[in-house]
């Protein structure tokens, strides 16, 4: 939480340290009280202080604003505030979060053989969370190097394709090596796919946003061709169905909650948690991470300090793509097992990763929490949502995008969020000493 959010911050004028305002008494910890009256003069200093002070405040307020505005849309179109609240309750239940009220139930009742919805929904939410942690890490890692990897979707597709290919082939291998082989191959493929954008950025200066978007579409259509009719990896038993073969049993990740083959929760979530730890160690405890962060903070200063900016751009993009490729592998080997041509058009997990990373302020812990939120939102508004609820799943799934868009929009505008966050205190203060105080301005 000590780092500021997305590195490509608006270029501020030189940032003086946030000195306490004279006459207010010593306030050594700005983090303890954002906007408590210690406001240094320049905008940049105030902004800098709020960046650190708002470590948790900004994401929370961002989420609240986004959910509130999403609720306004629902209330306006359904002509009822009550229905909007009910819709959020249905989404909460759809995500299986009501499981906490009866946590002892298993997914499948051994006597009645009926699935318990809350536990089943929660397991599905956690499956989505697993993917989002990894695609979120992909975006976050690039952000820490000052790069915007918008190509998580394409790198995820490449991971899906390679994991399927390796998982379907080599069916005679034993389980552990087969899984490791498929996961490593998909991860490397994702790294290579993102590495293309990194190399282009480092050598000829092609902007990574444009090149990764183009790589997304190239991966999309290549996948469309590979799994489509007559494609090289299309189903070998049913030649007219545009879907891939199923991954061999030896390459399927073991399921520990729910049933294998019925989208039970697999050990992929531990792989994702391991990736989170790797992300933290890599960034904060290794030379590589130090160099990557230095390039992200200020490429010129990093170059002056003897750090190769080009090398680190390529490295950061490749590692970023590795996370997204791993996400594809974990999905394919964990619960999908096969991929249809039509699935390419519906998958948005790579793009959701952007919202996850930005809301999580590109930190490991933040990514975990926001992946949980978006995983719940993603499943709770689609398959988990009861069709008898006040808001239809087709409608609610779009609500996810509205909330996601607002989150990303506000994540880039900390100033506004903090302005809202501090509004009550500012109001109180102004009432206390009305004539002398000057209200702070967002811009």
């Amino acid at each position: 939480m000590t780092e500021p959010g997305p590195p490509p911050e608006p270029e501020q004028s030189p940032k003086p340290p946030p000195a306490p305002e004279p006459g207010q008494g010593p306030k050594p910890h700005p983090a303890t009280g954002p906007g408590q009256g210690t406001e240094p003069g320049t905008f940049a200093a105030r902004f800098d202080m709020k960046q650190r002070a708002g470590g948790i405040a900004v994401p929370i307020v961002t989420v609240l604003i986004a959910f509130f505005m999403g609720g306004v849309v629902v209330a306006a179109t359904q002509h009822s505030v009550h229905k909007a609240l009910l819709a959020y309750r249905d989404i909460f239940n759809g995500a299986g979060l009501n499981w906490i009220f009866h946590p002892t139930t298993t997914i499948l009742d051994p006597t009645t053989h009926l699935t318990h919805l809350p536990s089943y929904n929660l397991s599905q939410t956690l499956l989505q969370t697993t993917t989002l942690i990894l695609t979120g890490l992909a975006v976050a890692f690039a952000f820490r190097a000052g790069l915007f990897n918008i190509g998580g979707q394409g790198q995820y597709f490449v991971g899906i394709i390679v994991a399927n290919w390796v998982g379907v082939s080599f069916a005679t291998m034993s389980t552990a090596p087969h899984i490791v082989l498929a996961v490593v191959a998909a991860t490397l493929a994702g790294a290579a796919w993102a590495g293309i954008a990194g190399v282009l950025k480092a050598t000829v200066g092609a902007h990574e946003v444009i090149s990764t978007i183009m790589l997304n579409w190239i991966a999309f259509y290549v996948g469309y061709w590979i799994f489509g009719d007559g494609g090289p990896l299309q189903n070998s038993t049913e030649p007219f169905v545009p879907v891939s073969n199923d991954v061999a049993h030896s390459a399927q990740l073991p399921v520990f909650w729910g049933a294998q083959g019925f989208q039970g929760l697999d050990i992929g979530i531990f792989i994702a948690l391991g990736a989170l730890a790797t992300f933290w160690v890599l960034l904060n405890r290794t030379t590589l991470g130090y160099e990557v962060r230095a390039v992200g903070f200020n490429p010129d200063a990093a170059a002056y300090g003897g750090i190769s900016v080009k090398k680190n751009i390529i490295r950061a993009m490749a590692i970023s793509g590795a996370f997204a490729g791993l996400a594809g592998a974990v999905d394919m080997l964990g619960y999908l097992y096969h991929y249809a041509q039509g699935d390419f058009a519906f998958s948005q997990v790579g793009f959701l990763g952007i919202a996850v990373a930005l809301l999580g302020r590109n930190t490991a812990l933040g990514t975990l929490l926001s992946a949980l939120l978006f995983g719940a939102l993603l499943f709770g508004t689609t398959h988990g949502l009861n069709s008898g609820s006040v808001i239809q799943p087709t409608l609610a799934s779009n609500l996810t995008y509205i909330i996601m868009g607002l989150v990303v929009l506000f994540a880039g505008a900390n100033v506004l969020v903090l302005y809202v966050w501090n509004a009550p205190r500012r109001w109180l203060r102004r009432r206390a000493k009305a004539p002398t105080d000057t209200a702070e301005q967002p811009a």
Binding site: V204, S211, L215, Y221, V222, Y401, V408
Partner: protein, 402 residues
């Protein structure tokens, strides 16, 4: 700064002295080598393509020897590529060739390029004033959906245009507030705007049209029919949409406004050095707001072509733009932030997209693979085969008023 009069007196000699001229000639000849083997010329003897391609390559080598390495090697590559494509074309059957390359290919290319040209001109205005607009995609999407809704409810396509422009402008206004006043990171803010547009259009599409992809009876944007469709020009440009013709005019208008008027000078000043512009009394925020909102309006007018344009028949589906806004953005960069360059890039994308659809006659199985062509070309173009591009100096940098 040479005046127009001076340029007219000495029109070509200074350009010819530049070694880049031979490079560009080589690139042109390389393209011509491939063009020889396809209709309407359709030379079936391979020698013509090889000869012209070799001339292109020699011109390229000459350019390299005169110091313009990048363009020279580009000409060499174009020459060799022209020979390769020419050989491929002479090997394929005449029937397939005629099916893939006919006059309607031109019409289709222009049709695909039309929304891109609108969005790209919007992007040029926005970026020339110093605001990167990744949100073009979302603004196109707003135009596509709300234009359809406006035309449907208003009963005429003109209402559709107005509603689309209003929706795109409104979203752009939101983005402008975040990018200019709140000084949010523009790439992140633009991405947020894209998601927001995706959610809003998707939500209201379900709410208002219940996910039905085609709305029958929606008034469409009319075509301009002025030549009979039988001969070459009739098929190529005789039945283009009003919007396509408007896009040609827009390119010229953008050029005149940006480079021949005081307002254009102010816009470019805000994009190059906002502080200096502020010092001489230009309201940087007002200019930037105006340009971003204009870019949203133009992008939305491009987007409406996808929903009630001539080929669209009142179609809307979730995420109908499918990355076209980003292609337009790439066209802006490829075109070096100039209207003519961006127009050429949009045409290149339009041509490769239209060609990709036609190449299906060769292999229906690989048809999805051909769709990759425009994206690969854009990637190659952005990677800078033609030459390094130079963005406005303050592009993407928020400006804080003093």
């Amino acid at each position: 700064m040479t005046t127009w009069a001076a340029r007219l007196e000495n029109p070509i000699s200074s350009r010819l002295r530049d070694p880049a001229a031979t490079g560009y000639a080589g690139i042109f000849l390389g393209a011509f080598a491939a063009f020889l083997a396809i209709p309407p010329i359709e030379a079936r003897a391979i020698y013509w393509s090889i000869f012209v391609g070799l001339v292109a390559a020699i011109l390229g080598v000459w350019t390299v020897s005169r110091g313009r390495r990048r363009i020279g090697w580009g000409a060499v590559a174009a020459g060799l590529l022209g020979i390769g494509l020419g050989i491929l074309a002479t090997r394929s059957s005449v029937g397939n060739l005629n099916a893939a390359f006919d006059a309607t290919l031109i019409a289709q290319s222009l049709g695909v390029a039309t929304p891109l040209v609108f969005a790209a001109m919007g992007g040029i205005f926005s970026e020339r004033s110093g605001v990167v607009n990744i949100g073009l995609e979302g603004m196109m999407l707003m135009g596509a959906f709300w234009g359809l809704y406006g035309a449907d409810k208003g009963g005429t396509w003109v209402v559709g245009l107005l509603v689309a422009a209003a929706a795109g402008g409104l979203l752009a206004l939101v983005y402008a507030f975040f990018a200019i006043h709140l000084r949010a990171d523009q790439i992140v803010g633009g991405t947020g705007v894209n998601f927001l547009a995706l959610g809003i259009t998707g939500y209201f599409f379900v709410q208002l049209y219940n996910n039905a992809p085609v709305q029958n009876g929606v008034p469409l944007i009319p075509n301009v029919n002025f030549l009979s469709g039988s001969h070459f020009f009739g098929a190529a440009i005789g039945g283009l949409s009003i919007l396509t013709w408007a896009s040609f005019a827009l390119v010229i208008l953008t050029f005149i406004v940006l480079f021949k008027t005081p307002l254009g000078l102010r816009i470019r000043a805000c994009g190059e050095h906002p502080r200096a512009a502020d010092t001489v009394g230009i309201d940087v925020y007002a200019i930037r707001y105006g340009c971003v909102v204009l870019s949203g309006i133009l992008a939305a007018l491009g987007g409406i072509y996808l929903s009630i344009g001539p080929q669209a028949n009142g179609t809307f589906i979730f995420n109908i733009t499918a990355g076209k806004g980003f292609i337009a953005l790439a066209a802006v960069i490829f075109g070096n932030w100039r209207p003519a360059g961006a127009f050429a890039a949009a045409l290149l994308f339009g041509f490769s997209s239209a060609l990709a659809l036609r190449l299906q006659v060769y292999s229906p199985q690989a048809s999805a693979l051909f769709q990759v062509l425009p994206y690969v070309l854009t990637l190659v173009a952005v990677a800078g085969v033609i030459g390094r591009t130079e963005a406005p100096a303050a592009d993407g940098k928020p400006y804080a008023k003093q």
